[in-house]
């Protein structure tokens, strides 16, 4: 199955500061009580927002059109719930920029076609400050040149080669790829003693 190639994302940024923001904070478990992902965006960071009494960036209308989320270290740690990147993507965010990501969150985001790229702590903070000072300022994330261009500066970004290749090549939706070699899968399964019945 061919999917969209993703190389460049342009738009304003939404800064959410803090290390170790876990998936329970991104989307509290009570909103997972559904058989679909629909409407999750309405509950994105819900408890953090309530506790911030209106000061959470998501409650600032100036960020309504944000396309990039800028975070800090170990973002998305904790549960494997794809509901977390789903809620972010459904809120209109098309890429996440941060110091580091949990592995499962990163993989889930890839599967949704939402790149997560890493920058230095200083660059993350700089991008967040820029967005706080001018929420309308546009960033351009470019997976070809591996940079983010902000009005102030050009920042280098990093991403594992496999994920980058998947976005640039339009192969981030893995299902089709995994179904290509049905006979090879059967062969590997047949060689596994616990599949073949210990014979």
């Amino acid at each position: 199955m061919s999917v969209e190639k993703i190389s460049r994302i342009t738009g304003p940024a939404l800064p959410v500061r803090g290390d170790n923001i876990d998936t329970d904070r991104i989307i509290p478990a009570r909103f997972l009580r559904s058989v679909s992902f629909e409407g999750l965006e309405h509950h994105l960071f819900e408890d953090d927002r309530r506790q911030a009494s209106g000061t959470h960036p998501l409650d600032n209308v100036a960020y309504a059109g944000a396309a990039l989320l800028v975070v800090n270290a170990n973002f998305g740690c904790g549960s494997s719930r794809e509901h977390a990147p789903q809620a972010i993507r459904r809120r209109g965010i098309r890429a996440v920029v941060g110091e580091s990501f949990s592995e499962i969150f990163f993989g889930n985001a890839v599967a949704l076609g939402m790149p997560c790229v890493t920058v230095s702590a200083a660059a993350a903070s700089q991008l967040q400050s820029g967005a706080e000072q001018d929420p309308a300022a546009e960033l351009t994330l470019d997976l070809e040149s591996m940079t983010i261009q902000s009005p102030r500066a050009r920042v280098p970004i990093e991403m594992p080669a496999a994920a980058r290749g998947a976005f640039l090549g339009g192969s981030w939706d893995a299902t089709g790829l995994l179904l290509e070699r049905y006979e090879d899968v059967r062969a590997v399964a047949g060689r596994l003693p616990y599949v073949s019945g210990w014979r």
Binding site: D24, G107, N108, L179
Partner: protein, 469 residues
């Protein structure tokens, strides 16, 4: 060339190198539950796909099940919807399901091992981060998201990046009152909540060698809390003895053939690890978390960190955590009042965990104003505990004795904290809001420490109880 268990299992399941450099990895056992699978089945249907190896997927229901009144239809309409969807999907795809009527239902990471489904040398995936639990058997087991659940249903494969291996050797002997839970909390405190990103953790050393399978599962379970997607223990006599005779374990001569293969899997002497960490297990003391991630912990006889004495970069996180928890820097953790005591979860709700908790509460009573509950990890654990009379010990001590499920670990059911309640919990995560109330507070510790806190009404050193193991 000497290689690690991870490498051996990875190679045996590798279908091919994908064009982007990832590995197409065959998944030997796929476990599903009601929260992260319905959307995967919908996506598969939308693409006109079918389940390729239905016999390699097993389902149970755990996150949303009520633990009090489990009669169908559930009074909780959303929970009933989710379970019905799972039942329908399993029926249509020909997937075996262990439901509430099966006698084998429970938390997916408790059920897989106790049925003998989880075996050494397998690759195991499940839409749940605590899938790392199954690594205790020398399987390579990891959590996946819902799109990946769809991929496994469709192809029985995943596109995976290679994992590095960090061997963590825990030497010595655990002191009385110190449990597997304390060992993994120690590892996370030392290596950090993101120290394991990119790694599988291989747990080794005398202490791990001597551990029961239940204890090894507790350690592997919380690998993800240290950032490691997978954690494992090399299979040995303990592993084989646990598996022999289990319902889905190989039987008769097959078991011997299986055992021969399993014994070839442990990391070879001289294997190269990407990193090595050594911990003196003898120095570990009963541990309690005080913050909002599992790395923020102290020994029960220590005091909470003083922001003035820690690096300035870490200060805001410590301040935020202390403020959320309503705890004072420099104060002892012992004596912290609790409102709720929870013995449960895929980390610590197996029979041995219930036995340790019961040993502490025997002949005592839960403190006034403390709500205490014991939620067995599976129906089988519950039945076994009742055969030993553990339920009577708990009930007489003032605990509620519940049906099997995830319960208050993540509160996707009726079991949850209210308001700012403080909970002594044998579960795995102390994130803000984790136990159902956005401002509820969680202190993680071993089941014995939870039992002691329930009796005392506050955090107390389990080593002061005469019945401690």
């Amino acid at each position: 060339m000497p290689s690690t268990l991870l490498q051996k299992v990875w190679d045996a399941h590798s279908v091919r190198k994908l064009p982007n450099g990832q590995t197409q990895l065959f998944v030997g056992l796929h476990l599903i539950h009601e929260v992260t699978s319905p959307q995967a089945f919908d996506m598969l249907r939308a693409r006109g796909g079918t389940v390729m190896f239905p016999e390699r997927t097993i389902a149970t229901v755990d996150h949303i099940v009520p633990t009090k009144d489990q009669r169908r239809p559930f009074l909780d309409v959303m929970a009933e919807d989710m379970l019905s969807a799972l039942e329908r999907n399993c029926r249509e795809a020909g997937i075996r399901m262990f439901d509430l009527a099966s006698g084998a239902q429970g938390i997916v990471h408790v059920v897989g091992p106790e049925l003998g489904l989880t075996q050494p040398g397998m690759t195991i995936a499940c839409g749940d981060s605590h899938t790392s639990t199954h690594g205790a058997f020398g399987a390579v087991a990891f959590g996946i998201g819902t799109s990946q659940v769809r991929d496994v249903l469709a192809s029985q494969c995943l596109a995976m990046d290679p994992l590095k291996v960090r061997r963590i050797t825990i030497s010595g002997r655990l002191a009385p009152g110190v449990y597997a839970k304390d060992v993994i909390l120690e590892i996370i405190r030392r290596l950090g909540v993101n120290g394991g990103v990119g790694y599988a953790y291989e747990y080794a050393g005398e202490i791990v060698d001597r551990m029961t399978m239940d204890e090894r599962m507790t350690i592997c379970n919380m690998s993800i809390e240290g950032g490691a997607r997978a954690g494992y223990v090399n299979p040995d006599d303990t592993t084989l003895a646990y598996l022999r005779g289990r319902r889905f374990a190989p039987q008769g001569d097959d078991f011997d053939r299986a055992a021969a293969w399993w014994r070839s899997l442990p990391s070879d002497p001289g294997a190269t690890f990407d990193d090595e960490v050594r911990i003196d297990g003898g120095s570990i003391r009963p541990t309690v978390t005080w913050g909002i991630n599992p790395g923020q912990s102290v020994y029960v006889d220590e005091t909470l960190p003083n922001p003035a004495s820690i690096p300035s970069a870490e200060r805001p996180a410590v301040e935020e955590a202390l403020q959320f928890m309503g705890l004072k820097h420099g104060a002892p953790i012992a004596g912290t009042r609790i409102d709720v005591a929870f013995v449960g979860s895929c980390t610590n709700a197996r029979l041995s965990d219930l036995r340790e908790a019961a040993r502490i509460v025997r002949g005592k009573h839960v403190a006034p104003n403390v709500k205490a509950l014991v939620v067995p990890g599976s129906q089988a654990v519950r039945d076994a505990a009742e055969r030993e009379g553990l339920h009577n010990l708990f009930i007489e001590a003032g605990f509620e004795w519940r049906g099997a499920g995830c319960s208050m670990c993540l509160a996707m059911n009726q079991d949850r904290l209210e308001g700012r309640e403080m909970c002594a919990s044998s579960s795995n995560r102390n994130f803000k809001g984790r136990q159902g109330s956005p401002v509820g507070r969680t202190l993680l510790m071993s089941p014995a420490m939870v039992a002691a806190a329930a009796v005392a009404g506050e955090i107390v050193d389990v080593r002061t109880f005469s019945d401690v193991r």
